[in-house]
C-alpha cells in the first residue's frame, strides 16, 4: 500500500496515465452505466406505480420514490456492483497478465516502482471519474422513469415531474457521492491487489480476476451498510 501511494516518478507521466485510465475505466464504462440506469429508472418507476396504487397516496410520490431510490441506492451501489464486475475483472486481468508475463519484473528491474506506476493512476482515475458516472446515472435513471410513465401511462408525466422536484434533500446527493468514492477505491484497489500478486499462468489470472470481483462486491455491500449508518442514521 505504501508503495502504491508513494510519490510518482514523474508527474507528467502520471498525468498521462491518469488521463488514459479515465478513458479506460470511466468513459468506456459510460455505455453500460447508461443502459443499466435507463432500465433501472424505468423499472423502479413502474414497480412503485403498480405497488402503491391507492387513492390515498398521491401520484407524484412515484416520481419522488424513483428519484430518491436512484440517488440513495441504485446509481451508487448497483452501478458500483456492475462496475466491480466490468472494471474489476479488467484491472485484475491486465495487471495479472503483466505479472505472469514478467512485465512487472521488467518495470522493477528498470528501477520503476511498479505498484505506484500501475495501480495509483487507476485508483486516482476511478475516484475522480466515478462520481461523474454516478450523477449521469441518476439523470439517465430519471429519464428512464419518465419514458416509462409516458409509454405505460401509469401516471401522468406532470405528476412524475412534480415528484422529482418534491422535498428534494441535497444531502442525499452528497451521501451518494461519498459512497461512490469509497466504491471507486474498492473497485480498483482490490482487483489491482489480486492481479499484482497473481502467480502461475493464465488459469491463475482468471481465478484472481474472479476472486477480485467477488471480494470487491462483498466489500461494496459492507461499505454501503457502514456509510449509510454513519451518514444517514
Amino acid at each position: 500500500m505504501r508503495r502504491v501511494f508513494s510519490k510518482p516518478e514523474k508527474a507528467r507521466i502520471f498525468f498521462k496515465l491518469f488521463i488514459r485510465e479515465i478513458e479506460m475505466l470511466g468513459i468506456n464504462s459510460l455505455g453500460i452505466v447508461i443502459i443499466i440506469s435507463v432500465f433501472m429508472g424505468a423499472v423502479i418507476t413502474l414497480q412503485t406505480a403498480y405497488n402503491i396504487e391507492s387513492p390515498f397516496i398521491p401520484d407524484y410520490l412515484i416520481g419522488l420514490t424513483a428519484r430518491d431510490s436512484m440517488i440513495l441506492e441504485f446509481s451508487s451501489t448497483i452501478v458500483g456492483l456492475i462496475l466491480a464486475g466490468k472494471v474489476g475483472s479488467n484491472v485484475a486481468s491486465e495487471i495479472g497478465t503483466m505479472r505472469i508475463s514478467e512485465q512487472i519484473d521488467a518495470l522493477e528491474i528498470m528501477g520503476v516502482n511498479s505498484a505506484n506506476y500501475l495501480i495509483l493512476p487507476k485508483i486516482a482515475a476511478a475516484v475522480f471519474i466515478n462520481p461523474f458516472l454516478n450523477i449521469i446515472s441518476i439523470f439517465i435513471g430519471l429519464i428512464g422513469g419518465y419514458l416509462a410513465v409516458i409509454m405505460s401511462g401509469a401516471i401522468s408525466a406532470d405528476q412524475y415531474l412534480l415528484g422529482l422536484h418534491y422535498v428534494f434533500v441535497p444531502f442525499y446527493v452528497t451521501y451518494s457521492l461519498v459512497k461512490t468514492v469509497f466504491f471507486a477505491f474498492v473497485i480498483t484497489s482490490v482487483p489491482a491487489y489480486h492481479g499484482y500478486y497473481a502467480t502461475g499462468g493464465a488459469l491463475e489470472v482468471g481465478r484472481s480476476s474472479t476472486r477480485a470481483v467477488v471480494y470487491s462486491s462483498i466489500l461494496i455491500l459492507l461499505i454501503n451498510v457502514i456509510v449509510t449508518q454513519l451518514m444517514l442514521a
Partner: protein
C-alpha cells in the same frame, strides 16, 4: 564486474542456492548453465534483486548491492538492462514506446532525441521500420531483439538475459547470441546470460558457470568445457549424440 560471495537462498524449507561464489567480468559474456530446476533462474533473479538472498554478498563493482536500501538499489538498476525469457515487452505499447520507456522515465530527452535513440537501438539489433508495430505483430525473434534494444536504451553497464534463445529456431538463436556478444564488446558491459542452449555455450561462453542442485559445480570457458572430466557437467553438456560426437 559483478562478484558473488557465498550466496544462499531458500524457499520455505527448500534450499535452492547453496554457497555460490563467482565473478562475472566486464566486456565478457558470462553464462550460467544448468538443468531445469537447478537454481540458475533463482540465481539470476537474486543477482538483480528480484529475490532477496538469505546469506552472502553481491557486489556491483565496489558497491555491495545485497545490503543496499531500495533507493540505493534504484541507482544501480538504472545501469542494468534485462532481457526476459518471453521478452516482457509491454503489450499495450508499440515497439518505439517500449524502447523509449526507460528514456521517458529516467532522462530529460525531448521527443526528437528519444526517437533518435530508439532508432539507434533498433539499428543495433538490425531492425528497421518496426517502430509503430505492437509486440503481438512481430515474430518471436524480433520480440527478443526489441527486448535487447530496450535493455540497451539507457546504455547500461550490466546486461542480464534469461534464456534469450528459448522458443527460437537454431538460426535465429545464433543471430541473437552474436548480437548479445557484439553489444557486450561494443558497450563494454558485464553480460550475464542464463541458458541451457549448448550452441550458446560453444559460441559465446567467455565464462561458464555450471549450477548443479543449487551449487556451483564447475566454472571455466568454452575451451575448458571440452576438456573437463567433471561427470555431472559432461552428462549435462554432452547429453546428446551430436554433442558427444563434437567432443570426440
Amino acid at each position: 564486474m559483478i562478484e558473488l560471495k557465498n550466496i544462499s537462498k531458500s524457499f520455505s524449507d527448500k534450499q535452492v542456492l547453496k554457497d555460490v561464489s563467482t565473478t562475472f567480468e566486464k566486456g565478457k559474456t558470462n553464462l550460467i548453465i544448468g538443468q531445469s530446476g537447478s537454481g540458475k533462474t533463482v540465481l539470476l533473479k537474486s543477482i538483480i534483486g528480484l529475490h532477496d538472498i538469505d546469506e552472502g554478498e553481491i557486489f556491483y563493482g565496489n558497491l555491495e548491492f545485497s545490503k543496499m536500501k531500495v533507493k540505493e538499489k534504484k541507482k544501480i538498476r538504472k545501469e542494468i538492462g534485462m532481457v526476459f525469457q518471453g521478452g516482457a515487452l509491454f503489450d499495450s505499447a508499440t515497439v518505439e514506446e517500449n524502447i523509449a520507456f526507460p528514456l521517458e522515465m529516467f532522462t530529460k530527452m525531448n521527443a526528437e532525441e528519444k526517437r533518435e535513440r530508439v532508432n539507434f537501438c533498433l539499428s543495433k539489433v538490425n531492425l528497421v521500420n518496426v517502430n509503430h508495430l505492437f509486440p503481438a505483430e512481430i515474430s518471436g525473434g524480433m520480440q527478443k531483439r526489441v527486448a535487447i534494444a530496450r535493455a540497451i536504451s539507457l546504455n547500461p553497464k550490466y546486461l542480464f538475459c534469461d534464456e534469450p534463445n528459448s522458443g527460437l529456431d537454431p538460426r535465429t538463436s545464433i543471430v541473437i547470441d552474436q548480437l548479445i556478444r557484439e553489444l557486450t564488446i561494443e558497450f563494454d558491459m558485464t553480460t550475464v546470460i542464463n541458458t541451457h542452449d549448448m550452441n550458446s555455450v560453444m559460441e559465446i561462453g567467455d565464462k561458464i558457470l555450471y549450477i548443479y542442485k543449487g551449487e556451483k559445480w564447475w566454472e571455466g570457458d568454452k575451451h575448458q568445457i571440452m576438456k573437463s572430466d567433471n561427470k555431472e557437467l559432461n552428462d549435462f553438456v554432452f547429453a546428446s549424440e551430436l554433442m558427444r560426437k563434437f567432443k570426440n
